[in-house]
Each structure stands twice: as C-alpha cells, then as structure tokens.
Amino acid sequence: MSQNSHPTPLLYFVIVMCLFVGTVVTYKAATIDMGIWNPIVALAIACTKAVLVVLFFMHVRYSDKLTKVTVVAGFFWLMILITLSLSDYIGRGFQVAP
C-alpha cells in the first residue's frame, strides 16, 4: 500500500529537525510568563509535533483511508473521555451559584 511513496531520508531529517526545534521552543516558551497561554502554547506545540510524527514517521500521509480513519477515531474517542469527564468537574462550579 505504501511501498513506492515512502519519504526520503532528507525528509526524515527535516522532520526530526522540526521536532528538535519544537522541543526547544516548548522549553523556552515555558520560561516566559504568558498567563493562561502557557499550557495552551505547550500543548499546541506538542500536538504539532505529534502530528508530524504520525504523518511522516508513521507514514499516515502515505497510507490508505482506513489508517487515517483509525487515527482520527482514536483521537475522537480520547476526546470523548477527556471532555465528558472534565465537563462534570467544571460543571460542578455552576452549582455554587445562589
């Protein structure tokens, strides 16, 4: 399925450099006080790095639709777990209202 379209070592090298840069940026960003933005920036960079790994190192970019659907499904279910359980905790804040 993905025989002839695998990326080249050069591309891998570019990706790994991006990942290194991403790591350094995450680290540097954490030392700057951005208030509420700190965790958002950190997670945004982490997501970007993860997407790079998934797309190129794990060849999803060159894979069939089924693999892509699988990846998206995993993300979707993880979001169900996180958002619905977290929403209960955040929702408890509403109850203190008079």
Partner: protein, 532 residues
C-alpha cells in the same frame, strides 16, 4: 471412514492446547466459560437461598458480600464478556466471512491463554477467601477498607481484559481484510456487524478499565492518593473511569447477542431480514453512543446537575437504535413462514425479555425516577433482564443454532424445547418480582431485609430454582448429543450464509475451496439454492 474435519484432524492434548484454529480456540473458550457460568450460577443460587428469609441467617454478612461480588465478577468478566464473541464469534465469524481463519491466529490463541491467566487470578482471589467489594470496586471501600485480596482480583480482570482486546482486534482486522471475494460490506451477515461493533468497544473501552484497575491496585498497595479522599483524591473520579468502560461493556455483552438473534429470526421465518441497513447501522450507533452515556450510573453520586442533564439526554439517544432493532426483528416475521425450532424459541424469548429490559432502562435514564430506584433491586432486575433475559438467552439460542455446525451432531429437540420454556418461565419468575421490590425500596446488595419484602423475595428464589433447571438441562443434552446425537448434516436448518455451505463440522481450513459470494445475505427467497 469419516470425512476430515477440524475435530478429527488431529488428536491429543497438544493439538488442542497449541492449536491456531479459530474453531478449536472457540471450543476451548466454550469449555472455560461454561465452567465460569456454572460457578457464577452457584453463587447466585446461594444468594437466592440466603434471601429466602429476611433475617440473613444462612451466611455471615461478609460471606454474603463475597458471594454477590464473586457472582458479579465471574458472570461479567469471565462469562458474559467472552460469551458470544469469543465462543460463537470466534467459531462462526471467519466462516461467515469466507475466510480460512482469523487475521491473527496466534494472537487468537494468545488471547485464550491470557484469559486463562486472568481467570486463574480470579480463582486465586476466590480461593484466597473471596473479595467483598462488589463487582464495581468502588473506592475508597476497595482501596482502603476491605481486607480481602482485591489486588489479585483486579489484576485478574485487568489481564482478562487484554484477552477481550485481542479478540476485538482480531475481529476488526478480519472483517476489514479477510472477506471472501464478493463479500461486500452490504453483504456482511448481521452477526458480523454486531461483533464488529462490539469489538470497537472492546478495543476502545477495555484499556480504560485496565488503567483504572492498575490505579486501584496502586492505591491499595501504596496509598498514593489518587482515589483516597483522605489524601485529596476523588472517589467520584474512579466512578467516571470505571463506568467509561463498564457501561459500554454492557454493549460488548448485548451487541453480539443481537447479532445472533438477527441470524436466527431470519432463518426460522424463512425470510430476508427487514431493514438490513438499519439493523447494521444501529449496531454501530449503539457502539458509538454507548460511550457517551456512562454517567447515568452516577446521577446520585455527586456529579454536577449539568452533567446529569447531558448524560440523561444522551442515554435516551442510545435507546433508539435498540428500539429500531426490536421493531425490525418483529417485522421480519411478518409474512414469513415461521417455525418454532429451539433456537427460534430462544430468539423470541430474547425479543420479549430484551424489550422489557430495554424499556425499564428508561426508568433509570430518566432523572426523576432514577433518584428513587437507583441502587435498588429495580436496577438488579433491569440488568438481569438485559443480561440474562437478553444475552444469556441469545447465547443459548446461538449455541443451539450452531451446535450442529460445531459438532456435526443434532441435539434432541424435545428436551431442548422444554428447557427453553423452563428457562423463560423461571427467568420471569426470578426477576419480575425484583422490579416491584426495587420500587418498594429494597436496596441491592442487602443481606438482610425488612420482613415486608419477603413474599417477593421468596417468589424470586423459587423462580431461581426453576431457572437453574433450565440452565442445567442443555448442559446434559448437549453432552449427550456428542455421543448419541444424530448426524446433523451440513445445513439442518436450510439456512443461508456461508457457514452452512461448508461441511459440518467444518474442515480445518473452513472451506474446501474459497467461496465466492454472489448474493445478498438472508436470500431466503430462492429455496432451490440450498445444497443438502
């Protein structure tokens, strides 16, 4: 000289224990879970015996607590979860797809060994005195208060969970990759759709209970503070994590049963299934919606009002696809040519009992009534209507349906019909009174109860003894049929589907030549097509 098939292909214990044949693994699972079914059933019998009198005079309350815990754990994790998927699914799914085995035969065998190890831990916990946390393991009771081998049992369930993950993984990949030529998604038997949906839950839900049980074990072993309120942890979080798996898990249990019913109803109505697409997609819908309703187990447990409203609303959404299935099965019989062989009796019992079980679920999803009946016998009755009236009935129906295929032998029809009838009567007598008990306010897991509940409890216990007869009978006549049963023939029911086109029992590689599918499933219109 009899024809070669998977049973006589090879003899000896090694040929069974090292087999990679999905059919033999299914038989291994069948023997294992039958043991656990009767073990769990024995606990149930003792529970019902205790509840004959209000005083709680037969067992010490600790013993009683262990009985219902071990009943729940055995039945849910070591019987219901593997029942239809690992036995009937394992046996029939690859044949239905026209494949010669599952995608990963070695992983399939590994799954059985993992199950055995997990079940071994379960038995070790039992021999080590039994656990008394309830099958729900609610913290902080399970992590800090009871003095029983909770960790052993938790590890057992965790390990057994991986058995079901591997079964699910195998089913999903097999369904995607191993279909015979011509077997398009629109031609998949509904049994495959249902097992596929259940497999989705197995692979996505089970890991969450695995990590939760690891945390429970760590909390209990090292007091790390994740669930212990004394150290700042939140016991309600445990319930979230637990039910994230355990609610979808009831769909792992019921969905494959629904698949079995779709096969049986069409066969004995001699008719195409009514609304194929809707039944198929309702399975997937149940699998997906099943993941967003878990907190309806927690309406009085201290979740926010906002969450309660959302989860209640979503819970009603998951009721719709189940209703659609029931209507479609009933409609399938319309203008059919209905005959009442044993599997059909079970299927009809399933439809009736599942309808009641499903509708009483509405009482629990509705916020106003759930407050009153939560954690009472109403829940017990509802759950057993779905799990025993639904799943066990479907499982028995499926075993009867495919027994001739699995063994090549026919079971005796008269005792089988009688057993189906006894099961139906016994079941209703056992569990219907529990609805009333629940609304009257009898809490679940009560060892002693106020005397005014006695009449209903006695009725329930009486029913349980009838039910026990109904469950033991098949064990006897199935074993009898292995030796004395008539040869079944390749297609005793005149059924459609690839599994009936191969020999009974099937050859080791299922088909003598790769089948090519050219027709829709349940194509009962053309009777001539059947080979005798």
């Amino acid at each position: 000289m009899p024809a070669k098939h998977y049973l006589n292909d090879n003899y000896g214990i090694r040929s069974w224990l090292l087999t990679k044949d999905h059919k033999r693994i299914a038989i291994l699972y069948l023997c294992t879970i039958t043991f656990f079914f009767f073990l769990g059933g024995m606990f149930a019998a003792l529970i019902r015996l205790e509840l004959l009198t209000p005083e709680g005079d037969l067992f010490h309350s600790d013993t009683y607590n262990k009985l219902f815990t071990m009943h729940g754990v055995n039945m849910i994790f070591f019987f219901l979860i593997p029942s239809v998927p690992a036995v009937l699914g394992n046996f029939i799914l690859p044949i239905m797809l026209g494949a010669k085995d599952l995608a990963f035969p070695k992983i399939n065998l590994l799954s059985w060994y993992i199950f055995i190890v997990g079940a071994g831990f379960g038995l070790a916990a039992l021999i080590g005195g039994g656990v008394d946390t309830g099958w729900t393991f609610y913290t902080p009771l399970s992590t800090g208060y009871v003095r029983t081998p909770v960790i052993v049992l938790a590890v057992g369930i965790l390990i057994a969970g991986f058995a079901s993950i591997f079964t699910g993984l195998n089913f999903i990949v097999t369904t995607h990759r191993m279909r015979a030529p011509g077997m398009t998604w629109g031609r998949l038997p509904l049994m495959v759709w249902a097992n596929y949906a259940a497999s989705l839950i197995m692979i996505l839900g089970t890991p969450v209970i695995a990590i939760t049980l690891i945390l429970v074990a760590l909390e209990r072993g090292f007091h790390i503070g994740v669930f212990d309120p004394k150290l700042g942890g939140d016991p309600v979080l445990f319930q979230h994590m637990f039910w994230f798996y355990s609610h979808p898990a009831v769909y792992i249990m019921i969905l494959p049963g629904m698949g079995v019913i779709s096969e049986i109803v069409t066969c004995f109505s001699r008719k195409r299934v009514f609304g194929y697409t809707f039944i198929a997609f309702s399975s997937i819908a149940i699998a997906v919606f099943g993941f967003v309703v878990w907190a309806h187990h927690m309406f009085v447990a201290g979740i926010s009002t906002y969450s309660a409203l959302v989860f209640s609303l979503l819970s009603f959404a998951v009721a719709i696809p189940s209703a659609v299935k029931v209507f479609n099965w009933t409609a399938t019989m319309y203008k059919g040519s209905v005959s009442l062989e044993t599997p059909m009796l079970y299927a009809l019992a399933f439809i009736g009992l599942f309808t009641i079980g499903g509708l009483t679920g509405l009482f629990l999803a509705a916020l106003g009534t759930d407050i009153h009946i939560h954690d009472t016998y109403f829940v017990v009755a509802h759950f057993h209507y779905v799990m025993v009236g639904g799943m066990v009935t479907a499982y028995l129906g499926g075993i009867h349906f495919w027994w001739p295929k699995m063994t090549g032998k026919m079971y005796p029809e008269a005792p089988a019909k009688l057993a189906a009838l006894i099961t139906f009567i016994g079941f209703n007598l056992t569990f219907f009174p529990q609805f009333i008990l629940g609304y009257l306010g009898m809490p679940r897991r009560y060892h002693a109860y106020p005397p005014e509940f006695q009449v209903l409890n006695v009725l329930s216990s009486a029913g349980a003894s009838v039910l026990a007869v109904g469950f033991i009978m098949p064990l006897v006549y199935f074993l009898w049929s292995l030796k004395f049963g008539e040869a079944a023939g390749d297609n005793p029911w005149d059924a459609k589907g690839l599994e009936w086109q191969t020999t009974s029992p099937p050859p080791t590689h299922n088909f003598h030549e790769v089948p090519i599918v050219t027709e829709d499933p349940y194509n009962y219109g053309e009777e001539a097509n059947v080979v005798h």
